[in-house]
Point group: C2
Chain length 466, copies 2
Amino acid sequence: MDQKTIKALKQIVSADNLRTAEEELLCYSYDGTGREFVPEAVALPGSTAEVSAIMQLASATPFPVVVRGAGTGMTGGSLPLAGGLVLAMGRMNRILEIDVANQVAVVEPGVITGDLRDEAARHQLYYPPDPASFKFCTIGGNVAECAGGPSAVKYGVTRDYVLGLEVVLPDGKIINTGVRTAKGVVGYDLTRLFVGSEGTLGVVTKIILRLVAAPATKQTLLVLLDSMERAASLVAEILARHLPCTLEYMDRTAISLVADKFPAPIPEGTAALLLIELDGDREQVEHEGQRLRAFLQAADQVLTVQAAQDATEAEQLWAARRAVSPASFTLRPHKISEDVVVPRTRIPELVATAERLAATGKIPIFTFGHAGDGNIHVNIMLDRGNPAEVTAAENAKRALFTKVIELGGTLSGEHGVGITKAAYLAMELSAETIATMQAIKRLFDPGDILNPGKIFPPPGGDEENI
Amino acid sequence: MDQKTIKALKQIVSADNLRTAEEELLCYSYDGTGREFVPEAVALPGSTAEVSAIMQLASATPFPVVVRGAGTGMTGGSLPLAGGLVLAMGRMNRILEIDVANQVAVVEPGVITGDLRDEAARHQLYYPPDPASFKFCTIGGNVAECAGGPSAVKYGVTRDYVLGLEVVLPDGKIINTGVRTAKGVVGYDLTRLFVGSEGTLGVVTKIILRLVAAPATKQTLLVLLDSMERAASLVAEILARHLPCTLEYMDRTAISLVADKFPAPIPEGTAALLLIELDGDREQVEHEGQRLRAFLQAADQVLTVQAAQDATEAEQLWAARRAVSPASFTLRPHKISEDVVVPRTRIPELVATAERLAATGKIPIFTFGHAGDGNIHVNIMLDRGNPAEVTAAENAKRALFTKVIELGGTLSGEHGVGITKAAYLAMELSAETIATMQAIKRLFDPGDILNPGKIFPPPGGDEENI
């Protein structure tokens, strides 16, 4: 990126909002994958017009542009692989409107997801998507990756809440997609084409979101079982009768990592844990909670059913669940975290595969995640300094993906493809499907300036990014 | 279409499944708009391979292909404007799979929506989308138009239930999109690009659908009010506290058309009617129904609140609601039915506009529809033999659309654009947005053989199809 380009960028966003010093660039070089790619410059645009001017400059010059929210992505979506410019959206962080009666929010992409959830709550409204990083990540990043979270089993994912977008195309043109009403079918669904496109088709500069009425209360249940198979069949039985807002599970290795963090001791022989939450109005949750507890207590192979007595106890259960990730580093210093999805009845086969791969590769592998929708976080632990473990982890990842596809699943439920799954894309999608997607990429971005190197398999072959 | 092409088509689908006799072609020439365009031939393919062979032939020849389900569309989506071949999907009508534990259905496009709903119900499952034509229309048509229905206020529209598709592209290539799991974010969201694309991008040959647990029971409430403004504010108050599965309204003209069909007399001064349904398990509906009735009985300007005592009484209320359309023809022999959407708080302004336009144009205009999501059916009645009324109706339609856009709405909530709204597209979408959509159309269908003449404004100018 030459001085003329830097000067032009400064003219667009002002010198204050352009970073070029190396120590500043480093702050925008990493994401949740732990990888680092240093950009040549970082611009912090303050308006759609500035984003448009930057994209016009980038197209004309050309140079690569990578959009960045909070850098919490798990697959490298915001990493500037090819250098160029990082467009950091943190200054465009205004909640522009909460339309209470129509249950709609209009926000800029840099809004922190948790801030929107808090602001909605002030109006007795609720923005359901709750990725684990919701206190730090941005709505723009959530839209780019189609983020999910535990509440997806009842409420769906980011895609289900985006009504419309303002998008700057790679050539700088600004388009509006979708509606700000509950329904709308005028023309092609460009909105959902951009959602989950991992910042490769356009720069989202405004987001119209659907909100729902806030549930008045929650009830949290902990269920321990002596078998993973039984946990999975129980999940299907629960979902035939109830619609919990959370239905998480942990396998035996995950449980063992945090066994001391639970309010009551974990009985011997526990092989699976379910964390279930119901939400709604008070009487309804009370009534449904009673029904669900009675059902669970009468179910086979259930060791214990424990209802959180209050918010503190519920928080203790969640703290144990959240402690799994940090505690896993007692096993090995590095982790490959995959977010595969299988039909929920196939979870036991996936867990068994993970256990088998761990034994074969002599590395710890454990699973936990969203049992209600089959979205499983598979954690392959390794020491990257140990070549044998790196090879074992690579093999385990590929074998895991093979099994996932065989079970009718998908390689990613909420993290996206980015760079970490690009080499595996052809395991799930046919050559024709990939070619169709690549044709769409070329249509929107013929110069390949927007987030190059993401989603699609690297042309050089199948370099694997584990 | 020459004899060589006809012969080639017969070779693909067999002579039995190709129609060319004029009286047979007429059966595939109309849709819910009442317009007629006669195709040159009709093929009834029996498999994806046959569809692929037909599209290869159509691309090579070339000739236009228009996909048809049951012909119940309201905007001309299945009309063969340019002649050519109609691809009638009625033979591909198998429910291939109901995966009960994973709550997934796999179907062919010719399945009648009501048949799927019935089959799901046999497994205590529920396919929510319920367009008025659900007893006749096909899932394929629902996917093409992204059909909605009264239940959308709680359950969403067709888009929210389509997990994945098998699609034959205009050149005959077959692709698979999406997943058969609850979540999936691998690559671009081609699934939702095809949903609502009105048969212009590809031929859907298989559909993977999400099902939900069947609600055990329903409760139906009729609410009469003395003001449309109050009805709209009440809708917002209801949705802040409850999530009914239906929240329909009728304006005073619609009520007057069917006043004698209700179980109890409609009091004088009634200006708006709400039909509300709650669903769920028995105790929950009972409890929530009590809360809702208490709230409604205490609300200002509510004339009566009546709960259906049993299924027969509920059916009587729905029969009255369904009688509005047939009864409207006592007003005039022809109808223009629009399905605009506005933010639900703006419904009174839209109803007032309709009443004003009726007075100005001296033609009856009445509205009813989905108050919960602001999707309003505006019915402009006219005698097409009367040029003054045709002009008045044209003017009313344009003025209505202008107002809808001014109120932050959209021209279609569930019927699509087709030919009846194509001339008005630029009222809602910018030139850049339309150009983006047209570029996608050219990418998928460079020869413009698949459903030509739909969605986009006719190149000749703004010929209006009322």
